[in-house]
């Protein structure tokens, strides 16, 4: 069997979903037999070097870099999975959606109690920096997502079962305990 190619990304997330991938424990040895990793923070490959079968996205989009990265994944991956609450519904970063962006920026860089050092009122506007979106959006509101694995983080068993089902092209069995939103 040809090894399936997997790529992962962490957008506006906390990296917890990636940690949860590692939580599959010794099954990771089985996984290595079945797949090879391409672009991913796990192996630090920065650019796609070949077509990818399964792209796994952690985190939603809170800035322009997230959006670009997500679109880059969509172009290079046959199947795209939203992994975790942030990718699926914006998650914790999206809690700012109830507050206008100006207010967030003002609080963070100008008026907040911890910004006494920023006397000149410098705002992060270097061209190198990604630009912040009006509101944090789930991945499927930017590109088409094929599968959704909820959880904060998703349980390792759910990730394993889902990956195994995709790789082996078997139907997936979802026990009650593995679908959780927290």
């Amino acid at each position: 069997m040809n090894k399936k190619v997997i790529a992962t990304a962490s957008l506006a997330g906390c990296f917890g979903c990636h940690m949860s991938v590692l939580d599959i424990d010794e099954r990771i040895l089985d996984l290595i037999e079945l797949v090879e990793f391409n672009k991913s923070p796990i192996d630090d490959i920065k650019k796609f070097t070949k077509p990818v079968d399964i792209g796994i996205i952690e985190g939603g989009c809170c800035n322009s870099e997230n959006v670009e990265n997500l679109r880059y994944f969509r172009e290079n991956c046959k199947v795209l999975i939203s992994l975790g609450e942030c990718a699926i519904m914006g998650g914790l970063p999206a809690m700012r959606n109830g507050i206008p962006l100006e207010e967030c920026l003002r609080e963070a860089y100008l008026d907040g109690p911890t910004v006494q050092l920023n006397k000149e009122g410098i705002l992060p506007n270097n061209e190198e920096l990604p630009q912040i979106l009006d509101r944090v959006v789930p991945c499927h509101e930017v590109v088409k997502i094929d599968y959704f694995l909820p959880g904060c983080p998703p349980r390792a068993d759910l990730i394993w079962d889902a990956l195994y089902a995709l790789i082996s092209e078997q139907p997936m069995n979802i026990p009650y305990e593995v679908i959780k939103f927290d």
Partner: protein
């Protein structure tokens, strides 16, 4: 705050009865145009309720307010016909002349400018209500005059520079510029009935059971739109046990595009009340209430006079018509601006001083209605028709109409036609004939039964082959197409409460019409059901997505499928709140397909360039320059 003694006075007039909260609040709003915290605290204390409970009712109704409104309050209707008659220009004129944006009060507190759902003036739009006085056929010039007059502190009634309307619109107790526009009279509207004949003499010819029998034999069905058999309703009501029984006349005519009840109340009030009396006689009821929508407050004084006249003649009161023990009287309950109160159980809730949220059924109002008593709620037109039936007999009545829909129906016709107004037509009349009657040409679509009804077309599609039809009219292709060829007003084809709004080929059906109707449902939902509270909003956003060019094929299927969830709502409003979109997909699918991207399968409305604009503006402009210097 309103002086405490005044509040106590008003409360005492209503016996400190919290089921009369609507009247209490209406009286208080006459003194002060909003309810402040202190006033509400007094009410709460005296009525043994929490403040939140009082605010629950206040915040439900459009014409009640928790925030200060103006000395003069302008309510400009947002009905579709007003929009078709250039409401935009009127709105701009009001905003310019008042110096305030819509839904605001001028800084001096003089003028409040608000938008409001259809006020029942579709045949004389654009119209507005200012301090209970209706102004119709507004022009920007008239707006200028009105605002000038209000600024000069004139009585609002003195700002009617036009002739009063026809008929009783000119009555000293009405003095309104509203016109009746009765264009076609048939068996019900024909003035061949000497008022009060039934209470005077007819009543003696019938036993109560015979009255019910006669109405049952006539197959009269409720004229509000739902079409429940009237005789059966009366029978159920008469069989339910209770200390009292209640007859309610539902004059909360809120379905956009209908105004026939307004005309009936103006020209045939005696028959309306007589119909209520007949229903009371038949069912053994002693309490009568006319629930009048707030928008028709200008008729209140006049209607009260008629009731007083009837009392003087002993057509109301004790032993009516000389029949021992037949005691019945009618009071008028004003609403306060809520479409949903046209639903009978919501209307009853409102009459009990609560939010107009429909009740779960069973029990039905005929078993357990107003204050728990068996309650029969009938539409204005139903009651007037019942009087005619009792005069001429069920047999006479069944000579009109079709087999499944007997008699006639009052239509409120508006929109793109030469002669908007009231038409009484026999059931079974084809839509094409109705169009001819009212002088409608170049017809693209007709909204039958208001937003909760159907958007249909007149188009004869017989020249299309079935493949073409299937393509256009999925999923029920031929069936729909065949009905198209000659659509008729009847319970089996196009049932209607009477609202007929016509759109010509120049109209943007989706962007202009369907959007307006969806906004109406969002505004007027009581919010109680999770479905109707949220789904119309979600569906409207999806339609907007399609209109913005982001639509994909699956979006149409999504709308059809999401609409099904609305059917799980409690009342008719919720169940039909998706109809503007659903019926336009069924009957005008090509308009949707026109907007759909053929090559894209997935599209969201997300746009990166737009999404970073706020950031760019905040970060890159002044602060950046400042920083670089």
């Amino acid at each position: 705050m309103i002086e405490k003694s005044l509040i106590i006075d008003i409360l005492q007039q209503h016996k400190n009865d919290c089921t009369r909260l609507m009247d209490i609040l209406l009286d208080l709003h006459k003194i002060q145009n909003y309810m402040d915290k202190e006033t509400i605290s007094v009410l709460a204390e005296e009525l043994d309720l929490s403040r939140a409970e009082i605010e629950e009712t206040i915040s439900f109704y459009h014409f009640f307010s928790l925030k200060p409104r103006g000395k003069y309050n302008i309510y400009l209707t947002d009905s579709i016909t007003a929009n078709m008659k250039n409401r935009k220009a009127i709105l701009e004129a009001f905003e310019r002349e008042c110096g305030t944006k819509i839904n605001n009060v001028t800084p001096d507190g003089l003028l409040g400018l608000y938008t409001t759902s259809c006020i029942g003036m579709n045949d004389q739009e654009p119209a507005a209500i200012i301090n209970d006085v209706v102004f119709t056929n507004l022009t920007p010039y008239r707006v200028k005059e009105l605002v000038k007059g209000m600024r000069a502190g004139e009585e609002i009634k003195d700002l009617i520079y036009e002739n009063y309307g026809d008929g009783n619109n000119a009555d000293p107790d009405v003095e309104s510029m509203v016109s009746n526009n009765i264009r076609k009279k048939s068996i019900v509207l024909k003035k061949d009935y000497e008022t009060y004949t039934f209470v005077k003499s007819g009543i003696k010819k019938y036993t109560p059971t015979e009255v019910i029998k006669e109405i049952e034999n006539s197959n009269l069905r409720g004229r509000g739109g739902a079409g429940f058999p009237t005789g059966l309703k009366w029978r159920f009501g008469s069989q339910s046990q209770g200390e009292h029984r209640v007859i309610i006349c539902n004059a909360d005519e809120g379905e956009p595009g209908t105004f026939k009840d307004r005309v009936l109340l103006t020209e045939y009030p005696e028959m309306v009340f007589e119909g209520m009396t007949a229903a009371a006689y038949a069912t053994g009821s002693d309490i009568g209430v006319l629930y009048l929508r707030y928008e028709y407050t200008y008729l209140l004084k006049f209607l009260k006079r008629i009731l007083n006249e009837m009392r003087k003649k002993n057509f109301l009161g004790k032993n009516i018509g000389g029949i021992e023990g037949f005691d019945f009287d009618i009071r008028i309950q004003l609403g306060a601006g809520a479409y949903i109160c046209g639903e009978e159980s919501a209307l009853i809730e409102s009459m009990e001083g609560k939010r107009g949220e429909p009740r779960d059924k069973p029990p039905f109002p005929v078993e357990k209605g107003y204050l728990g008593y068996p309650t029969i709620v009938n539409n204005v037109e139903t009651l007037v028709t019942a009087v005619k039936i009792l005069q001429n007999g069920a047999k006479w009545y069944s000579g009109f109409g079709t087999n499944d829909s007997l008699g006639t129906k009052l239509l409120s016709i508006s929109g793109d036609c030469k002669f908007p107004g009231i038409y009484e037509v026999e059931w079974g009349t084809p839509l094409t004939e109705v169009m001819e009657m009212c002088g409608a040409e170049d017809v693209q679509a007709i909204q039958v039964g208001g937003p909760s009804g159907m958007l249909v077309s007149l188009k004869d599609l017989s020249h299309l082959n079935s493949t073409q039809l299937m393509k256009w009219y999925k999923p029920s292709g031929m069936e729909v197409a065949e009905r198209y060829i000659d659509r008729r007003l009847s319970y089996s084809d196009l049932p209607t409460g009477g609202s007929i709004i016509i759109f010509n080929n120049q109209r943007d059906l989706l962007g202009e019409v369907v959007m307006n109707f969806m906004e109406f449902f969002i505004e007027e939902s009581c919010g109680s059901c999770s479905t109707c509270r949220n789904m119309p909003y979600v569906m409207k956003n999806k339609l907007q997505k399609i209109l913005d060019g982001h639509g994909v094929k699956s979006d149409i299927e999504d709308l059809l499928s999401w609409g099904k969830t609305l059917k799980a709502s409690r009342c008719g409003l919720g169940q039909t709140a998706g109809n503007p979109i659903l019926s336009s997909i069924f009957n005008f699918r090509h308009l949707y397909e026109k907007h759909i991207q053929s090559l894209t399968e997935y599209d969201t409305v997300f746009n990166l360039e737009n999404s970073v604009q706020t950031y760019q503006k905040f970060v890159h402009k002044e602060p950046v320059l400042f920083h670089l210097q």
